[in-house]
Amino acid sequence: MENLKNIIEALLFISESPLRLDQIKKAVPEADPQNIRKSVLALKDEYEKRAGGFLLVEVAGGYQFRTRPEYKEWIGRLFQPSPQRLSPAALETLAIVAYRQPVLRSEIEQIRGVNSGNTLRILLERKLIRVLGRREIPGRPLVYATTQKFLETFDLKSLKDLPTPKEIDGMELTPSASPGQGPLEVTADEPETGKNST
């Protein structure tokens, strides 16, 4: 297929959300998966070299065209102002959910030291987190996790791409420094790709 790269470019161009390679394969079943991959990477390269107004970015498990950050000022002038920035409290809560997922509200509050119901609600409304289910312990509390939109919003390829916490006071921060704390528990039925392994 000599026009495969063009077809993929058109698909990426029109898609609202990041396109995964398997989604592309579904639209172009006649193409070889290897060639699809190659074409996508070639496109990514091309746009980087071209250094135009937008780039092909790998994000949330797929690929998406995005404008280059340096042009946000002009875009902001022409289009609707973006949604309100997340408050430091909301960001903190989000960071905990991201790192400790699947996580309970009580675990979040233990780390933050404050009631976090309100910030959880805001994050749920903004679809950055979601209710994953319940933990089978007394009270059957709700379990929270981040969403696909979280990855898209913060330009993350996957949860493995989360930033690592900075070292504090020049010393390695090990979770073991917090003895007997709940959030580090690993439950058998819930795999934790999201957790950072220190």
Binding site: R66, T67, R68, A95, Y99, R112, V131, Q181
Partner: protein
């Protein structure tokens, strides 16, 4: 007066007791692994007093932290735990707060780093949707919504409905209806189930009663048939 109003603004910076604690530790430039607990506790309490004097309502979370600090301080004063000779066998009571602080600082650092990434719709933008392409297939079509939207909708309905026509707005934790649904799910899977199986995992009397009521209701709805097996002396449900 001018300085006071400035300080009130400063107060808002603290998200909670952890934030205040971090602030105090930074301000005093002390080692997080060797917190002068007496000094920090005093300053923490002084801050609460100052808030009180300004008639700022102190959140319960701050009081909990104050109590924790006071407790650690008192344990440090116990003979044997404060001086170095005791070491090893007795854990430093400050570890409790150190661990929490480290964890909190870790999260803060992550939050900050997340914030610096190119954020969608703030720093970077994607093309707006092309809805013209939508073709809906009712059978296989996926639905664009999420759980929170569903709960929120129900919550609003309840709010609007409260006080109207005296509608029951507080469903029981384990209601007959819930139990019915569970039983029907079991029946759909297995086609048949005995009453004993249904109550096997139920230890509380109320749960057994609710199960029984649910079974009666299911029979009333003509969803299942109940048969008494004389040999085994057991009631068995058959899905219709």
């Amino acid at each position: 007066m001018a300085t006071q109003s400035y300080e009130i603004k400063l107060e808002n910076v603290f998200e909670g007791p952890m934030d205040l604690l971090v602030h105090l530790i930074k301000k005093n430039e002390v080692d997080i692994y060797d917190i002068p607990i007496s000094l920090i506790t005093d300053q923490f309490l002084a801050y609460l007093d100052w808030m009180k004097s300004l008639n700022i309502e102190i959140a319960g979370d701050f009081l909990v932290m104050a109590a924790t600090l006071a407790h650690i301080k008192s344990r440090m004063l116990l003979p044997g735990s404060a001086d170095d000779s005791a070491e090893e066998d007795e854990e430093d009571p400050r570890l409790e707060i150190t661990g929490q602080l480290l964890e909190y600082l870790q999260i803060k650092s992550v939050a900050q780093q997340l914030c610096q990434r190119p954020i969608l719709d703030e720093d970077v933008f994607v093309r707006q949707g092309e809805d013209a392409l939508s073709l809906v297939d009712l059978e296989t079509g996926v639905v664009k919504t999420d759980l929170f939207e569903l709960i929120q909708t129900y919550h609003k309905l309840l709010e609007n409905a409260s006080g109207k026509n005296g509608i029951l707005i507080t469903p029981e934790r384990i209601s007959v209806k819930d139990r019915m649904t569970e039983i029907i799910q079991i029946l759909e899977e297995k086609k048949t189930v005995s009453f004993m199986e249904l109550v096997a995992q139920r230890f509380e009397r109320i749960e057994i009663i609710i199960t029984f009521l649910a079974v009666l209701e299911i029979i009333k709805l003509n969803l299942a048939r109940i048969v008494l097996n004389k040999k085994q002396d057991a009631l068995r449900l058959y899905y219709l």
